[in-house]
């Protein structure tokens, strides 16, 4: 028998790698483009999220509203129903990362592919995860962002990979200066400045570890995440049953070597042919290319045949759904729901908290766009369901007065898109002075830094001659800050720039935020401020 691998599928494999590279490059390009580029409005850098049917479905379920841009997810659905999970194998940037590392780990022999058991129970995990997330969404606990691959990938890049890369880059720039190649160092440093990378994230280390862990799981199985965990893959898997591209193993050529099944990236099991799992296949064409006798092919089979499916135990499905139902209240055992949290300062344009939590998918787009690095992933401020949602931490970065980038990039409308003019009117909190730490009040000497930086006109921070008694009993009358709460918008630049660095003498809390009817300070009934409307 003639032993020859298929050139056609070898070529298709290269085409697939090219496609993955292009999509990954596009992802990175949009990621780097999510910054202040010199223009106030930066365009639809978050568009790839809208092709994600899982985000579309879960957000729609959780918020009971359909965000029209998510219609784009219909394209992904259509492609999958007709052709199969090409999106996973050819387009998904997270899939590309897993495939790349699987390849590397195989090459260095850290990972040795093996023939799996026929009844592989772990393949079902992702379906249970999907059910859990969707049922949870139905009961208004929006956990989809934690596990959605695009959210997870973007969040990991913003808070972990990019800051790490920035650190590496800084070391290199430093090296150029230390070997007296300052001009190269200068050029690199300037280039680096224009990228405006945010390098400080309060959970950066944890989020990096999670990402690293998912990548390292590829040491145990190829594309571990895609095989066993990805809820988006599971959703697409449910849709990939009647697709036209089916694997076919030519029994005349097949030498039963099992190579195709051993090397199948996602355990779709091409051999024996009738046990192939259509909904697990991501069309990487490894099986067809690796087959020593070119027996494996993917002919277009217009009529759906009977197909092997992953065994989902009905009992477990019911159990998972029930778990999601009873888990929903579990996530709400938190004071975050009962009263506003002082440090829960949301980005301008954020919807009222309950609606915000139903929509926010924790992707980190807003944190990438924030020019001051002030938007940070929350840990406990918003309760357990609000983990990794954006919160402004003025000590790290403040809200730039003429900036509405975070509102422009939110893929789910959790932050309503605002023009610069609209944004400048939104109150996200109010500043308070801690007179027991403020320099003029304590030392009797001038400071005025907060007043100087206050961006509103007239300034919300005023300076008044104030009588201060010093420790030696003497009396000084320095200019000391007071706050006009009517004018303060809570941007936090005062807290950020306060020279009392460890625990600023002026600080912002969320009270008085425009979006909330309850977290009020001044009863603004006489001069109503428009609450952000929910986008549709």
């Amino acid at each position: 028998m003639k032993k020859e691998q298929s050139k056609k599928y070898r070529a298709l494999q290269y085409l697939r790698i090219a496609s993955q590279t292009v999509f990954f490059a596009l992802f990175v390009y949009l990621l780097f483009g999510t910054r202040f580029t010199g223009e106030d409005y930066i365009g639809r850098v978050e568009v790839f999220f809208h092709f994600d049917p899982l985000l579309a479905l879960a957000t729609t379920l959780a918020s009971r509203t359909f965000f029209t841009v998510f219609a784009l997810a219909g394209i992904t659905v259509l492609v999958t129903v007709i052709a199969g999970r090409y999106v996973c194998g050819w387009a998904c940037p997270f899939g590309a990362i897993h495939q790349f590392f699987s390849f590397v780990f195989k090459r260095v022999k850290f990972l040795k592919p093996r023939k799996e058991e026929k009844k592989e129970k772990r393949l079902a995990w992702k379906y249970y995860l999907l059910v859990f997330v969707l049922v949870g969404s139905l009961f208004t606990v929006d956990l989809v962002g934690i596990a959605d691959p695009l959210s997870l990938l973007y969040r990991s890049f913003v808070s972990g990979v990019l800051p790490w890369l920035a650190g590496v880059f800084s070391v290199f720039i430093g090296l150029f200066y230390s070997v007296r190649l300052a001009s190269i160092g200068d050029s690199l440093a300037q280039f680096f400045s224009t990228l405006a990378l945010n390098q400080t994230f309060q959970q950066g280390f944890l989020l990096s570890l999670i990402f690293l862990g998912l990548v390292l799981l590829n040491l145990t199985r190829e594309r571990f995440w895609c095989r066993y965990l990805c809820p988006l893959g599971a959703l697409l898997g449910l849709l990939a049953r009647w697709n036209v591209a089916k694997v076919r193993v030519d029994p005349k050529k097949c030498i039963k070597c099992n190579l195709c099944t051993i090397h199948c990236e996602t355990q779709a099991n091409p051999y024996p042919n009738k046990e192939w799992r259509s909904h697990e296949c991501v069309y990487c064409y490894t099986c067809a290319a690796i087959c020593p006798t070119a027996a494996v092919s993917f002919p277009v089979a217009a009529s759906p045949e009977k197909i092997e499916v992953v065994n989902l135990s009905r009992r477990k499905l019911i159990l998972t759904s029930a778990l999601a139902v009873v888990a929903a209240p579990f996530f709400k055992i938190t004071p975050a729901r009962k009263r506003a949290a002082a440090k829960l300062i949301r980005p301008p344009g954020a919807l009222p908290e309950p609606q915000f939590l139903q929509r926010c998918v924790k992707c980190g787009e807003c944190m990438k766009a924030c020019p001051t690095n002030g938007l940070q992933p929350a840990l406990g401020e918003a309760g357990p369901e609000g983990i990794w949602t954006p919160v402004l931490v003025p000590r790290i970065g403040y809200c730039e007065y003429y900036c509405s980038l975070c509102t422009q990039v939110c893929p789910t409308g959790a932050i309503k898109e605002l023009s610069i003019e609209e944004k400048a009117k939104v109150v996200i909190g109010r500043a308070w002075i801690n007179k027991s730490r403020c320099i003029p009040y304590v030392l009797g000497s001038p400071c005025i830094v907060c007043e100087e930086h206050c961006p509103t006109s007239p300034k919300a921070i005023k300076l008044l001659r104030t009588e201060v008694k010093l420790p030696d009993g003497s009396i000084q009358t320095p200019l000391a800050p007071v706050i006009d709460l009517d004018l303060c918008i809570g941007c936090g630049i005062c807290e950020n720039k306060c020279p009392v660095v460890d625990d600023p003498a002026i600080y912002v809390t969320s009270v008085g935020e425009t979006r909330s009817e309850k977290n009020r300070l001044l009863l603004e009934i006489l001069k109503p401020q428009a609450l952000p409307e929910e986008p549709r």
Binding site: F36, S193, A196, C447, I448
Partner: protein, 295 residues
């Protein structure tokens, strides 16, 4: 490092430093201080430099020039928080006309640098005239002996030290601590570190920095001045159209005359009194050879 050596030499000759600027001004046939008023920011800047004897009296062929505007805030030129971009651009052009090899425009901003450079219009204006407009680079920060009365040492961006000549081009604005921010306050943008701690003795800090940096020429942009809510304003009603620039080699004299736009006598500004005492220049407007022009 040439500039640094030069500064050392100057520090040695303390007496010369004290009387230098006024002696020089009297020796030349040109006025010590020029104020030009007119409709065009570019035209008044050109005229002011011409009245001082032209840019060639400050810039030598082959010089690497650092121009230090105020790009501190994310505000458009109309709001008068940053130096007028036309004024900066004109100075860049004049430097190149005088034979400068390289012109750099730079400031350590308060708001995000990219935003300030863009919205102020200064980066684009400077680049269109052929200057470089890099962001400050923390790798170029170096702790230096300022030998001031209060500030003994501070982190300085070495770009300002390594340039052959410095041109200071501040804007005239209200400030709630030093009352006004003009030329001397502008040097806070050439340093790094915790600048917000300088405010505890701001007047002294400003003079220490001005004495350290010693610009060749100061051009005070008063085309639009900020009369209240300084130093960043925010409303057009904070701005007054003054349509003037003041130029001179004596940094104290420039600020002294600038104060009059705000109906403040130079002697009322503590930092100018310190500057006078330390011999940075003249603040008594009676004693300054002033020329006023209109174009």
């Amino acid at each position: 490092m040439r500039r640094r050596d030069f500064l050392k030499d100057i520090a040695v000759g303390g007496a010369l430093l004290r009387f230098g600027p006024s002696l020089l001004a009297q020796a030349s046939s040109f006025p010590g201080l020029v104020m030009v008023q007119g409709e065009s920011p570019s035209a008044i800047t050109k005229e002011a430099v011409a009245a001082l004897g032209g840019m060639k009296s400050f810039v030598a062929r082959g010089d690497r020039i650092m121009i230090k505007p105020n790009i501190g805030w994310d505000r458009t030129p109309e709001l008068a928080a940053c130096t007028n971009p036309e004024v900066v651009k004109t100075l860049v052009e004049l430097c190149f006309d005088a034979g400068a090899k390289e012109v750099t425009v730079m400031d350590n901003t308060t708001n995000q640098a990219q935003r300030c450079y863009a919205r102020s219009g200064i980066a684009e204006a400077a680049k269109s005239a052929g200057a470089k407009a890099p962001f400050v680079n923390t790798f170029r920060l170096k702790k230096m002996a300022l030998q001031g009365e209060w500030l003994k040492e501070w982190e300085v961006f070495t770009d300002f030290i390594e340039a052959d000549k410095l041109i200071n081009v501040p804007i005239a604005k209200h400030h709630s601590l030093s009352r006004l921010t003009m030329g001397m306050k502008n040097w806070l943008g050439a340093i790094g570190g915790s600048r917000n701690q300088l405010h505890q003795r701001l007047d002294e800090a400003m003079v220490d920095l001005a004495a350290f940096f010693k610009p060749e020429l100061t051009v005070l942009d008063a085309y639009r001045i900020l009369i209240q809510n300084g130093p960043q304003g925010g409303r057009l009603s904070d701005v007054k159209l003054q349509k003037a620039v003041i130029a001179g080699a004596d940094p104290a004299a420039v600020d002294a005359l600038g104060a009059t736009f705000f109906n403040i006598k130079p002697q009322e500004l503590p930092y100018l009194k310190i500057a006078r005492r330390r011999g940075l220049g003249e603040i008594d407007l009676e004693k300054i050879r002033l020329e006023k022009r209109t174009v």
